[in-house]
């Protein structure tokens, strides 16, 4: 499964699975002229619905950039990004905001919560911004899965880093987005708190059929996912299915060797 190192399109999902997001020939260049940096050099990727996908790669390989472009947070230089039927690259700012609000969930590495709002208000934020009523049963289910029942009235400052990240995950989940993007959600956490967050993400995939894309550096974290996509120097170089920490480490080493060689 790790043999082909330069695939045109990574499409190992079963033909029956619905594609939640599709990135085609994505190129992203920062700046212009001499100082231009091409962070993505033609990336194509399908994200299957109901799958937990990890994106890995050395620092500076373009993981965050890929995620930002796929999530409509950043403009692309060339190529297309589709979310379900929606082509994001041609959308106006106003519609893009709506798409983010209604179809995408986010979890960042740090600073995920509004400090003035308590946990519950933070979780409901995307819904209240949209002026939608929360589905109470769903909300309760999310809350019970996230395991924060008694801390809902607390503000972020009164929660641990792990709890904060779980609140952020719950917020991403509660509006039932098509897809959740998480950029190193456990990057700032110790292994126990990290495991709590990853367990929660895993469960939401298994139990609710949520689609999640997560950027991570940690092979342990990546091993919670269904599929790991490796990025190097702005290109997808390989991928793993049903990954284990050992196989991930192996792949990373072989990639390093290639980069150096």
């Amino acid at each position: 499964m790790t043999t082909d190192l330069a695939p045109e399109r990574r499409d190992t999902t079963p033909a029956t699975a619905r594609v939640a997001a599709r990135v085609t020939d994505l190129v992203k260049t920062y700046g212009s002229g001499d100082t231009a940096v091409t962070a993505l050099k033609g990336v194509s990727l399908d994200i299957a619905a109901g799958e937990f996908t990890a994106i890995m790669g050395p620092s500076g390989s373009g993981k965050s950039t890929l995620m930002h472009c796929a999530a409509g947070l950043d403009s692309v230089t060339r190529g297309s990004v589709q979310l379900g039927d929606i082509e994001l690259t041609t959308l106006k700012e106003k519609d893009l905001t709506k798409v983010r609000r209604d179809h995408i969930g986010f979890v960042f590495q740090s600073f995920n919560l509004i400090p003035t709002l308590n946990a519950e208000e933070n979780i409901l934020l995307p819904l209240s911004i949209a002026g939608r009523k929360p589905d109470r049963a769903w909300f309760d289910q999310v809350i019970s899965t996230v395991g924060l029942g008694d801390r809902l009235g607390h503000r972020p400052g009164e929660l641990s880093g792990g709890q904060q990240q779980r609140v952020a995950c719950a917020r991403a989940l509660v509006s039932r987005p098509e897809i959740i993007f998480a950029d190193e959600p456990t990057g700032n956490l110790d292994s126990t708190s990290g495991a709590e967050v990853l367990g929660f993400l895993r469960r939401s995939v298994d139990e609710f059929g949520q689609t999640i894309v997560m950027v991570t550096h940690d092979p342990g974290a990546a091993s919670w996912t269904d599929r790991v996509v490796f990025l190097a120097d702005g290109r997808i170089v390989t991928e793993l299915r049903e990954p284990t920490p050992e196989r991930i480490l192996e792949t990373m080493k072989s990639l390093d060797a290639k980069v150096q060689g």
Partner: protein, 848 residues
């Protein structure tokens, strides 16, 4: 360290400007008032030098008094002039006749001249003014040589539209209210006239018009022979003078006259300085806030400096350095703006007839020094606390991620705030209700104390207001409203200080609104209840008019009674007191006056009526003797009556017209009150009165309603002027809100990025800031209106005895202020909102 602060300063030019703006405005008012006062002084100095001879001989009475009382009617006999010409050292002596109520009627039938500068009628002499100066230069035609000829100053002639050779109309406060004369020449006056009009007649005619035909003069100029100094001549002249006359040198007479004018116009300076003070107080709030926020934002950077070995003092000093630059730039720009303000005031005064365009603006070194010092000191004082806090940032903070400068407790603040307010209330109470010297200072200090005290505790007082508005927000705007409320509550001190800046302006505006409404209501009530007269005759230029007018109106068909009424001042035991001259035979026209003893109708040339208050204070009763002095004349009077307060007769002393004249009082009327015969048609009589006065545009006749309207209009005019000036304080406050919001946006960049990432639209983001801004503004308005109404009520109560006896709180107007404050919030949020909505989401989320 200084280089680092300089860099950080330059990186924040806009912010610097916004906090400097408050200083700019405050200093501008300080500078403006000095520049204008100096200019005013200089122009009157130069005008006055051409209104005196080398030595001026005048009745002692004429040298006393000031511009507030009416000019003396005491005169110098013609025989004295000839004697003075023969004094050794005198080259010649010329008698002058001067009347301060002679106005030219323009071609269009309107009076030339505004409210304030006098219309001067003089006799022609070719005697030189002091130091050989020729006061008048003829620019065309010839000097008056016969009766019926007149020369006008060029500005007046031009405004009136008269050419040499034309017949012109004048009005006068002398025995002959209407004058017709042929314009035979135009003159220019040395130093300009500052808006006064000058009409020159032959000495013989001036005598007829202004001196009841007697061979007397207002004063005499004695011209020095060459080689004789003003002082030598004065001594020589003084030796020849009978008692009751004095000789003064031209220099001192001119200086005294100029000082008089300046003192009379001194209220302008006071007025402007008060606004300078308001602007600076509001501005200092802005500065405290700006620097506090800057320090909070830079706390990591400052901590790094500390970690690298800077001392607390160095860190604090770097902040003060920023303040110094801000203050200096603000002061310099303020000085410049002050000159512009002075020009504006000069132009404004020109509109009202006080023409100072002949004098260029004077920027004295004192003005520059005071402006710079005031601007710098205010900035540094305001920046001191934030600077000290900056020094307190612990070095370890450089390594920590969380908010470093937690707001310290509210306890100390609350205590200080409460004490300040309490002291303020004490001072205000003493100033308003106790008999303290310089009461206005007490009132000012009291208001300042309360305002500062409330500003200190505003974070606490504001809580329920914010909570209340927040509740509405949450219900109406959901999450956006909730976040707006939370943001407003996040830094209660910041919100409090920002709101307080607006509070000050709103406080003063509401206070004036309550006061103005009360004054208007009082006027209405007084007119309604106490006004018996059907018509009031008054001057359009504020100078009294010829008593002949009063006499003529008595003859109009349908008129029942006419009562003349004269304002004046007398001196009793060294202090100036207001006196009203009344006509005892028509006293009923002036309304029902509650009498404690005696009758006003019974006043004679030797009796006086004193007010109840005065009688109590001085233990006077009917039959007591008192001496009244006017100018140099002192006469004994017997208390013949004691009067209570009424709308028109509120002076401490009431004298019959002949009694007032015997003291040297004016022979001109301030007002005339008229009643109609029973059964006469109001419309018809009004029309006939108008017709009788048609060729006397110096006076107008108003019925009760028009009179009340006029009084109300005057109050309104004053209010609008004050509102306009206080509007500047509000503008500073708006800048304060903009500044706070803009800085908060920078502080919350990450948060805003996150909100945008999870789907907050630009519009929603802008709305969130707008709502926060509105909370701040409404908090300021609520506090301000609360204080303002309290101050207004206190002010009204304290003036209840001075005629403002009805309390009226203009709720609709105050409601309008609240709405306006909301609008202020909307406006203030515009720019920060625009900036926030342009933030690049990704960068915002990932900023450090």
């Amino acid at each position: 360290m200084l280089r680092a602060s300089w860099k950080s300063l330059m990186a924040r030019k806009l912010r610097l400007f916004m906090s400097a703006f408050a200083i700019i405005l405050g200093v501008a008012f300080v500078a403006g008032s000095f520049v204008f006062t100096d200019t005013l002084g200089r122009s009157f100095d130069s005008i006055m030098t051409s209104t005196v001879g080398d030595v001026v001989v005048r009745p002692v009475a004429a040298g006393q008094g000031d511009l507030e009382s009416q000019p003396s009617t005491a005169t110098v006999p013609g025989s004295l002039v000839k004697e003075l010409a023969d004094v050794p050292g005198a080259a010649r002596a010329d008698g002058n006749i001067t009347n301060f109520g002679t106005f030219v009627v323009g071609k269009n039938g309107k009076l030339i001249g505004g409210f304030g500068p006098p219309g001067i009628g003089v006799n022609f002499t070719d005697g030189p003014a002091a130091k050989g100066l020729q006061p008048f230069t003829l620019t065309s035609g010839h000097w008056p040589q016969a009766n019926g000829e007149v020369v006008l100053d060029e500005k007046t002639a031009q405004k009136a539209g008269y050419l040499v050779g034309e017949k012109i109309n004048l009005v006068s406060s002398g025995t002959q209210p209407r004058i017709q004369a042929k314009l035979v020449g135009i003159t220019r006056m040395e130093g300009g006239t500052a808006g006064a009009s000058i009409s020159v007649f032959t000495t013989e005619e001036a005598r007829t018009l202004f001196m009841e035909g007697k061979d007397v003069y207002s004063d005499v100029w004695v011209t020095a022979a060459s080689g004789t100094s003003q002082e030598e001549l004065r001594d020589a002249v003084a030796a020849k003078l009978p008692k009751d006359y004095e000789a003064v040198t031209g220099d001192s007479a001119a200086a005294a006259a100029a000082t008089d004018v300046q003192e009379a116009l001194g209220f302008i300076t006071t007025f402007l300085l008060i606004f300078a003070g308001v602007a600076l107080v509001v501005g200092s709030f802005l500065i405290v806030n700006t620097f506090s926020i800057l320090v909070a934002q830079r706390s990591r950077e400052l901590a790094l400096f500390r970690a690298l070995g800077s001392t607390r003092r160095q860190v604090a000093r770097s902040v003060l350095f920023e303040a110094t630059v801000t203050g200096l730039i603000g002061s310099i720009l303020g000085l410049g703006l002050g000159v512009v303000i002075a020009m504006g005031i000069r132009a404004l005064f020109g509109q009202f007839g006080l023409d100072l365009s002949g004098q260029s603006l004077i920027i004295a070194p004192r003005t520059i020094v005071v402006s710079l010092v005031v601007g710098l000191v205010v900035t540094l004082v305001a920046a001191y606390l934030p600077a000290r806090n900056a020094g307190k940032v612990p070095p370890v903070a450089a390594m920590r991620d969380d908010a470093i400068l937690a707001e310290s407790g509210m306890r100390g603040r609350t205590i200080v705030g409460t004490i300040l307010s309490a002291v303020g209330i004490g001072l205000l109470g003493a100033g308003l209700f106790a008999d303290v010297p310089k009461a206005t200072y007490w009132v000012g200090a009291g208001i300042l104390g309360i305002v500062l005290g409330v500003a200190l505790i505003s974070p606490l007082v504001g809580r329920p207001v914010i909570a209340g508005i927040g509740w509405i927000y949450r219900k109406t705007f959901g999450a956006v409203g909730l976040m707006a409320q939370q943001n407003a509550q996040r830094n209660p001190r910041r919100t409090g200080a920002t709101a307080s800046a607006l509070m000050i302006g709103v406080t003063l505006v509401s206070m004036m609104a309550v006061f103005g409404a009360s004054a208007k209501a009082s006027v209405d009530e007084a007119v309604d209840k106490e006004f018996v007269a059907d018509y009031v005759v008054s001057s359009v230029v504020g100078t009294p008019f010829s008593p002949e007018v009063t006499r003529e109106l008595a003859a109009v068909k349908g008129v029942d009674q006419v009562a003349a009424f004269r304002w004046d001042q007398v001196t009793v035991k060294g202090s100036d007191r207001q006196v009203t001259g009344i006509d005892p035979s028509h006293i009923g026209v002036l309304g029902p006056t509650p009498m404690v003893a005696g009758k006003l109708a019974g006043l004679t040339t030797t009796t006086v009526s004193v007010s109840e208050e005065l009688a109590k204070a001085e233990k006077l009763s009917v039959g007591s003797k008192i001496d009244l002095t006017r100018g140099g004349t002192t006469k004994p009077f017997t208390v013949g009556a004691i009067h209570g307060d009424s709308a028109l007769l509120s002076s401490d002393y009431l004298l019959s017209l002949p009694a007032l004249e015997s003291l040297g009082g004016p022979k001109t009327d301030s007002y005339a009150f008229i009643t109609r015969e029973a059964g006469a048609s109001a419309v018809q009589v009004g029309r006939d009165l108008d017709k009788a006065l048609a060729d006397l545009p110096v006076v107008t006749v108003k019925d009760q309603g028009e009179f009340a309207d006029e009084q109300r209009a005057q109050i309104n005019q004053m209010l609008y002027l004050i509102y306009a000036l206080l509007g500047l304080a509000v503008i500073i406050a708006i800048l304060g809100i903009i500044n706070t919001l803009a800085l908060s946006v920078i502080e919350r960049t990450k948060e805003i990025g996150l909100l945008r990432a999870v789907g907050l639209s630009r519009r929603q983001l802008k709305r969130m800031l707008r709502l926060e801004s509105i909370v701040i503004a409404l908090l300021g308005a609520a506090l301000g209106i609360g204080l303002g109404v309290a101050f207004g009520v206190a002010l009204q109560r304290s003036l209840a005895d001075d005629g403002i006896d009805v309390l009226a709180v203009p709720w609709p107007q105050l409601g309008f202020f609240v709405a306006l404050a909301g609008l202020v919030g909307v406006v203030a949020a515009w720019w920060p909102g625009w900036r926030a909505s342009r933030l690049d989401i990704l960068r915002a989320v990932t900023t450090e």
